[in-house]
């Protein structure tokens, strides 16, 4: 590997419940697309309950960017359109018919198309939403010229799926996807691999990319960290990014002419009896994963990982971008003198609990907050897990007082909620930091448009 970039700050949280390396076929006919997965999108429905759809049929568009289509991952019938408070569109539930009929988007070789043709194909088939942008972490704007495109091939979050394993055999589609990306930017396509993992031909043999290796604790696998180390975002610049599984879907569109929304999902967490990988489509229902495979106690289901995932209910669905489900204990219990006792089973980055002596201990953590919310008193905590050249506490305070100029000066364009996830975990004051960061990003986006 030519250049290895070392990340020193960060924290690996070792949890119980890593997925065993076997892929099972998931049997389910319930799927859903959740408009709430797409930040800043105002959905305008194109279908009604009872309509028949094929894989690739448009379900809704973004009201303010009508060229961005969101399409069905499977063929079947629109069973229910679920709305929440104030008629917010929550889920479009589709019952698959098992036939896998798909719309033919036509064969094409990306390298022989021009940029506009490539973009049109991506938009029409509904794979465009897989391409997201920094700043703001929203779906990319087709009219933008990104200065580079980033793919982080590894996820360093707790219990994260192993993409090297999950994508074995997808070499052709992966390369095709990269050919597509090459058409989208005049800059480089950065493929960032884990320096510590054995080299996978899938990634190392990819052509037309700039290969970079990263080493270090989480968040070394976060694309935001990688962008910051390789080509940081300045005001006015846009970078696009996507995950390797999403890239394979894009590649398949050109290989097979269909929207094949295949997903390899890792079912993980301390409350899963047999954690493993499952093959299904985007937006599968949770119940089909956990049938007879979770413990009896009260649990929290998370679409995604424990740091950045979304809480879902038992009748919920896996998120559009998620490649992982985590099931952990709910922490709604009282603990007698919990703050004063030694705490031999407590996880903490600080060394105020004896568990720090056992570096390799694996934890079965729950959702307890471990204390009450307080003013921001401690300093220097965030800096230990935040590998950016940014002052995290000062940026957070700038967001809290909604000082636009200061936020910009302190580097808000370079960060995302997920980059602050570890700060939130270790925060003594129990502030909901990711919420604050999202608020700041939304405010900036509104201000800049």
């Amino acid at each position: 590997m030519s250049n290895v970039i070392k990340i020193k700050k960060g924290l690996n949280i070792n949890l119980i419940g890593e997925a065993e390396k076997t892929i099972k076929q998931l049997s389910t006919d319930q799927f859903a697309i959740k408009p709430t997965d797409f930040i800043g999108v105002f959905p305008k429905l194109l279908i009604q309950e009872g309509d028949l759809v094929e894989a690739g049929s448009p379900l809704f568009v973004d009201k303010y960017r009508e060229n961005i289509l969101f399409t069905s991952p499977v063929s079947g019938k629109v069973r229910e359109i679920k709305r929440g408070a104030k008629r917010v569109l929550l889920e479009i539930r589709i019952e698959a018919d098992g036939k896998n009929n798909a719309i033919d988007f036509g064969a094409a070789e990306p390298l022989q198309l021009n940029r506009a043709e490539v973009i049109e194909k991506l938009l029409k088939s509904g794979v465009w939403p897989f391409i997201r942008q920094r700043p703001y972490s929203v779906i990319a704007n087709p009219a933008d010229q990104p200065k580079a495109i980033f793919i982080s091939t590894f996820d360093s979050a707790p219990l994260a799926p192993d993409n090297d394993f999950a994508l074995k055999g997808s070499e052709k589609a992966f390369q095709k996807g990269i050919d597509v990306l090459a058409k989208l930017t005049q800059g480089k396509v950065h493929l960032n691999v884990n320096a510590k993992a054995p080299a996978t031909p899938l990634f190392t043999n990819a052509k037309g990319v700039q290969l970079n290796a990263f080493e270090g604790p989480h968040p070394a696998g976060n694309v935001g960290v990688q962008i910051n180390k390789i080509d940081p975002i300045n005001k006015g610049e846009v970078v696009w990014y996507l995950t390797p599984q999403d890239l394979v879907v894009i590649g398949k569109l050109f290989l097979t002419v269909k929207y094949d929304a295949e997903r390899i999902i890792a079912l993980t967490g301390s409350e899963v009896l047999k954690p493993a990988y499952y093959k299904t489509k985007v937006g599968a229902n949770l119940e089909s994963f956990i049938k007879n495979n979770v413990s009896e106690i009260e649990k929290r289901y998370i679409s995604g990982n424990v740091l950045t995932g979304t809480k879902i209910e038992l009748d919920g669905f896996v998120g559009f971008y998620a490649t992982q489900i985590t099931v952990i204990k709910e922490g709604n219990y009282y603990e007698f003198f919990g703050w004063a006792l030694p705490g031999f089973d407590k996880f903490s980055m600080s060394k105020s609990f004896p568990t720090y002596l056992f570096k390799n201990k694996k934890f079965a953590l729950d959702t307890n907050l471990h204390g009450g919310e307080r003013a921001l008193v401690m300093t220097g905590e965030f800096e230990k897990v935040f590998p950016f050249d940014i002052y995290p506490l000062q940026l957070l305070k700038a967001i809290m007082i909604e000082d636009i100029d200061l936020m910009e000066n302190l580097g808000i364009y370079e960060v995302d909620e997920e980059d602050f996830a570890l700060c939130e975990v270790v925060d003594t004051s129990k502030t909901n930091i990711q919420e604050v960061v999202r608020k700041g990003l939304d405010l900036m986006r509104k201000e800049m448009s």
């Binding site: 949280i13 300045n234 610049e237 929290r300 424990v306 740091l307 950045t308 809480k311 985590t326 952990i328 922490g331 709604n332 219990y333 009282y334 007698f336 003198f337 919990g338 703050w339 004063a340 705490g343 996880f347 903490s348 980055m349 600080s350 060394k351 105020s352 953590l365 729950d366 959702t367 307890n368 907050l369 471990h370 204390g371 009450g372 919310e373 307080r374 003013a375 008193v377 401690m378 300093t379 220097g380 800096e383 050249d389 002052y391 000062q394 000066n409 302190l410 580097g411 909620e417 996830a421 570890l422 939130e424 975990v425 270790v426 925060d427 003594t428 129990k430 909901n432 930091i433 919420e435």
Partner: protein, 384 residues
């Protein structure tokens, strides 16, 4: 602990909104969360959280304070009997010290926590844990013979004017415990300085001057040996005398990572550098004392470990902490040697740097901002 939990669960409805004692909600909450870590779960963002909370943080500081406190209690007794020309075993001395020190601690906690509870109640906040530490620090920076009403007054001043008017814990500019001491220092100088106050019920014939007191009046031949000053068998404020006990406390803070090692080290280096500088100058006897004497005399060590490291009033950036600490050390020694009115400079030096900490941070953060702007400009220049 089931019965305790059941009892609390039964009482809780009276204290929530609409209950009979709705107005005492913060008080109930404080006691409940003291006994039990609450059952609150994460509802947004990260689903798992670190086990540390403000109570854990504060209890560790209190544990670190126990070493100088125990020593201080003994030393109050030891100095008293020494001045009387009597020698006793450990326990009688400790017992005498306890009778002197315990009331001061009780007054400080009762007054301080009372005000904290009242403010939390009126603001509908949870009670913050910050005073658990401040309430212990205040007695330890008092002379052993301090009248209790003064402790009460100083504590009230520190909590109300030093902290609550700024919005409470986390918002204050000055260190509350030092605010209490500074208040007494300027309001009642005769009870807070001189050579009468540092030994409890001192025999009149015995000189009760602290090493710093001796040095101020050019009696550098009268100061105790470095070893005695390091161990702390010298007159002084209750908790400040033993550098050894303070070093043990510092070790607790450094190992657990609760106290900033960066600040402690830079305060010490700041004090030493100023001491060495004076050694080079050597205009008078005070300037000629070994630089490390400054670390083991007066409140230097106590200030460096427990006061300068207060995260709220210190600089908040890593680089800022180094400047902040270094300047505290330098200015403390500067005041000691040059100012004829104040034998001890640590308190004023820390309070001064508390005020300047935001400015230090401002410049550190500005340099980061400038770097970012420069990066953007270079990009534009290359493109055009």
């Amino acid at each position: 602990m089931k019965f305790l939990r059941d009892f609390l669960d039964k009482q809780k409805p009276h204290f929530v909104k609409g209950g009979r004692f709705e107005k005492l909600h913060s008080t109930f909450d404080a006691f409940e969360t003291f006994l039990f870590v609450p059952d609150k779960t994460t509802h947004s963002g990260a689903h798992i959280r670190d086990a540390i909370d403000m109570k854990r943080t504060m209890i560790i500081v209190v544990i670190a304070l126990i070493f100088p406190l125990i020593f201080g209690i003994w030393n109050v007794g030891y100095q008293h009997y020494l001045s009387q020309g009597m020698a006793y075993d450990f326990w009688p001395m400790f017992g005498f010290g306890l009778l002197k020190v315990l009331p001061v601690i009780v007054v400080s906690y009762v007054v301080g926590l009372g005000i904290e509870f009242a403010f939390a109640q009126s603001r509908h906040h949870e009670v913050n844990e910050g005073f658990l530490v401040s309430g212990m620090l205040i007695p330890m920076v008092m002379p052993p013979d301090v009248p209790l009403w003064m402790v009460a007054l100083a504590t009230a001043f520190a909590v109300i004017i030093g902290k609550e008017v700024f919005g409470g814990t986390g918002m204050n500019i000055l260190n509350p415990a030092l605010t209490a001491r500074a208040f007494l220092f300027f309001a009642y100088p005769s009870e807070m300085s001189g050579d009468k106050v540092w030994i409890a019920e001192k025999a009149d014939a015995f000189s009760g001057a602290t090493p710093l007191g001796h040095l101020m009046v050019n009696e550098s031949d009268k100061i105790p040996s470095a070893w005695d000053m390091f161990l702390g068998v010298i007159p002084g404020s209750i908790g400040e005398t033993s550098t050894l006990a303070i070093a043990l406390g510092a070790l607790v803070l450094i190992i657990t990572g609760i106290g900033s090692f960066r600040i402690m080290l830079s305060v010490v280096l700041g004090g030493l550098s100023m001491g060495w500088l004076f050694n080079l100058w050597g205009a008078n006897a005070y300037m000629d004392i070994p630089a490390y004497y400054h670390l083991i005399m007066g409140g230097f060590a106590f200030g460096a470990v427990y006061m300068a490291t207060d995260p709220v009033s210190a600089a908040q950036t890593a680089r800022g902490k180094i400047f902040y600490g270094f300047l505290i050390g330098m200015i403390a020694v500067l005041i000691r040697v040059f100012n004829p009115a104040y034998p001890e400079g640590m308190m004023l030096s820390i309070l001064l740097m508390n005020v300047f900490a935001p400015l230090i941070d401002h410049y550190v953060v500005q340099s980061n901002i400038k770097k970012r702007l420069r990066r953007a400009k270079v990009k534009v220049a290359v493109k055009s």
